[in-house]
Amino acid sequence: MNLMDTLYSFLPDVLTAEGFAGIADEAAGVVFLIMLAVTVAGGIIACNSERLVRAVAGLAVCFVGVAAIYYFLNSPFVAMMQILIYIGAVCITIAFAIMLAAPEDNKKPGPAGPLSGPLGVITAGLVTFGMVGLAIKTQFPAMPKLNMGSVKLIGVQLLTSYSMVFELVSIVLLIAILGSLVIARHGRSK
Amino acid sequence: MGAYFSEIFYGLQSLVIGLGITFKEFFKPVVTVSYPFETIKMSDRYRGHIELVEDEEGNAKCISCGMCQRACPSGSISLASKSVEYEVEVKGEMKTKKKKVLVKYDLNFTTCSLCGQCVESCSVGAIEFSKEYNLASFNKEDFHFDLLNRLKERNS
C-alpha cells in the first residue's frame, strides 16, 4: 500500500480520513441544504408552471429531493421506494395522462378565475403560516428508541403487526386497477 | 393450455436455431474486402471504358478504319489518322505502300453509355474494355480520355 500512502501525501487534508471526520457533518449539512433547495424548487415548478409537462418534470425533481431527505431521516429503504414508485410510476402515469388527454395547443391561458390567483396565495399562505408556527412553537418530546428501524424489521412488522393493513392496501390497489380499467375502457369500443 | 406451452416451446426452439446459425457465421472468414487497401480483380466480362489493344511492337493495333466512330450511337469517339508510306518486299522487289497510322484517339466518357458497339464493330480486335473502375472527379474534362496517350503511358 505504498502507492496509497504516496497518494495520501498529495491530498488536501479535507479528503483524508482524519481530515474528513472533522468536516463530515458540515459536508452533510451542505448536501442537505442543496437537497432542500432542490425540493422547494421542484415544488414551485410543479405548482406554477404553465406547461403541464414541465410541471411533471418539476414534480419529479421535487421527489428526488424528498428521497434525499428520507435518506437523511435514516431510512434509505423508503428513499429508494420513493424514487421507484413516485418517479418510476406516478410521474410517468401523469405524463401519460397529459399526452393522452391534454393537448397543449387548445389550452386557454390565464388563471382559473379572476379571484383564484390571490385566493390561492392567501389560502396556501394561511395554511403554511399556521403549520410553520405550530412546528416552531410546539415542543415535541422525544422518546427513547427501541430499535434502528432496519429493512428486516419493516418486513417483519409488515407481515405480523400490520398484516391487516397490508392486506387492505393490496385490496385497495386491486380495486384501483380494476376500477381504472373499467372507467378508462368504458365507451372505447365505439 | 397445451397450445400455450407448446407455442412457448417452439418459439424458444426457433430462437435457439437462429442463434446457432449466427454463431456459426461468426467464426467463418470474412467475405468482404477492405476496399481502399485491397482490391479484387474484375471479372473478364466487366465493362469499363474502352482501351486500345497493342500489337507485338507496342503500337496500337488500330488500322484507323473509323468503324467504331461510326458505330458509336452517342458520338463519343473521335479519331484522326495520317497516311505514311513504307516499303515492303513483294516477290523480290521493293514496293512503296501507303498505310494509315493513328495519331489521335479521343474518348468522351461523359457521353459513353458502355453499350459496346465499338468493340463489336472493330474488325481487327483493336479495342477492348478496360477493367478500370476507380473513376471519380469533380471536373468533366477528366473524362475526356486520350487513349493513345494512355497506351503510351502503359508501355513506358
Partner: protein, 333 residues
C-alpha cells in the same frame, strides 16, 4: 484496510471511469461483432479500430447542438443528462469483487432499480420535449415497454432476494460463492444442504429477456424503431445530446450484465471455487454482453403488441408461479 473516505472517492471515480470507458468501447465491440456475424470485418483501421471511439467522441462533441424551433428547451436539454447520469451512478453500488466496491449499500438492488426508473422519465421528456410526433410516439412505446418489463424483472429479483434474505448486492453474490453448484441459475442448489429450485433456469431466462427489454436493445428496440419512427425518441437530437443517450444505453447494458452475474451466476466466484476475483466477474459480464450483441444481430425487431403480450401473458405468469413455488419450497425444506 478499512474503506476511508479517500478510498471511497477513488472507487467512485474508478466506477464512473469504468462506465464511460465501457460505453465508448462497447460501441466498437458491437460494431465488430455485428461485422463478424454478417461476415465482414467491421471497423479495423489502426489496430482493430482502437481509435474509433475517441474519434466518434470528438466528432460528437464538436458538432452543433441544434434545438428544434417548437421544442421545449429546458426539457430538451435535461432529458439526455437524466438518461445517462443515473445509469452511471448505479455503478457505485455494484461489487466487482469481494473487496472492490465503491459504496456497499444495504438496499443496493433497490437502488439500481430506482435509478433505472429514471430512464423512462428521461425518454418521455426527450420525446415530448422535442415536439416531434415520431418522438412522442416512440417515447410512449418505449415507456410502456419499460413499465411492462419492470414487473417480471422485479418479481424475479424478489424470488432471489427471498432465497438469500438480503437486498445487499455483495451478500447476494457472496451467498453463491464456492462453485457453480451454489449458483442460483441451477435448479438444484447445494448452498445449505440440499435445496430445490426447479424453475430457476426459467427465471434466469426471464431476467435476461427483461434486461434486454429494459435497455431498449434489439429485438425489443421499439423506442428507436428506425424503419417506422425515424430514430425514435432521439430523432431531434444531434451532437452530444445523442452521445449522452448512447452512453446511457451502453452503461445500462453493463449494469444489466452485472446484475445478471450477481443474481444468477455467482458474481466474482469461479465455477470451480478457484481464485475468486474481479477477473471472473469481468469475464462473466463480457460473455453476457457478447450474447446481448449476438442476439441483437440475430433476431428481427418484434411488433409492439407481440412485445407487450410476451410480458403480460407469458413472463409475468411464469415468474409469479416461480415466486409461489420458491416460497413453498423454502417453507417445506
Amino acid at each position: 484496510m478499512d474503506l476511508t473516505i479517500f478510498n471511497a472517492i477513488i472507487a467512485v471515480v474508478i466506477a464512473i471511469a469504468f462506465a464511460a470507458a465501457n460505453a465508448a468501447y462497447l460501441v466498437l465491440a458491437e460494431r465488430r461483432g455485428a461485422g463478424r456475424i454478417q461476415r465482414r470485418p467491421g471497423p479495423n483501421v489502426n489496430l482493430f479500430g482502437i481509435l474509433q471511439p475517441p474519434c466518434d467522441g470528438i466528432k460528437l462533441m464538436t458538432k452543433q447542438l441544434v434545438i428544434p424551433g417548437g421544442a421545449d428547451k429546458a426539457l430538451f436539454m435535461v432529458a439526455p443528462v437524466l438518461a445517462m447520469a443515473p445509469a452511471i451512478m448505479s455503478f457505485v453500488t455494484i461489487p466487482f469483487s469481494d473487496t472492490i466496491v465503491a459504496h456497499s449499500m444495504d438496499v443496493g438492488v433497490l437502488m439500481i432499480f430506482a435509478f433505472a426508473s429514471f430512464g423512462g422519465m428521461a425518454i418521455l421528456l426527450a420525446g415530448w420535449g422535442s415536439r416531434n410526433k415520431y418522438g412522442v410516439m416512440a417515447s410512449v412505446r418505449a415507456v410502456s415497454q419499460n413499465i411492462s418489463y419492470e414487473v417480471p424483472m422485479l418479481i424475479t429479483v424478489i424470488t432471489i432476494v427471498m432465497m438469500t434474505g438480503s437486498l445487499n448486492l455483495h451478500e447476494l453474490a457472496s451467498a453463491q460463492s464456492g462453485g457453480f453448484w451454489n449458483w442460483n441459475i441451477f435448479p438444484v442448489s447445494l448452498k445449505d444442504g440440499f435445496m430445490l429450485q426447479p424453475l430457476m433456469p426459467v427465471s434466469f431466462l426471464i431476467f435476461f429477456i427483461c434486461s434486454l427489454a429494459e435497455t431498449n436493445r434489439a429485438p425489443f428496440d421499439l423506442g428507436e424503431a428506425e424503419s417506422e419512427l425515424v430514430a425514435g425518441f432521439h430523432t431531434e437530437y444531434g451532437s452530444m445530446g445523442f452521445g449522452l443517450f448512447f452512453m446511457g444505453e451502453y452503461a445500462n447494458i453493463v449494469i444489466g450484465a452485472s446484475l445478471i452475474t450477481i443474481l444468477f451466476l455467482g458474481g466474482w466466484g469461479c465455477p470451480f471455487g478457484l481464485f475468486p476475483g474481479v477477473w471472473w466477474f469481468l469475464l462473466k459480464i463480457y460473455l453476457l454482453i457478447f450474447s446481448f450483441i449476438w442476439i441483437r444481430w440475430t433476431f428481427p425487431r418484434t411488433t409492439i403488441y407481440g412485445l407487450l403480450n410476451l410480458s403480460w401473458k407469458i413472463l409475468i405468469p411464469i415468474s409469479l408461479f416461480n415466486l409461489l413455488l420458491t416460497a413453498g419450497l423454502l417453507k417445506v425444506f
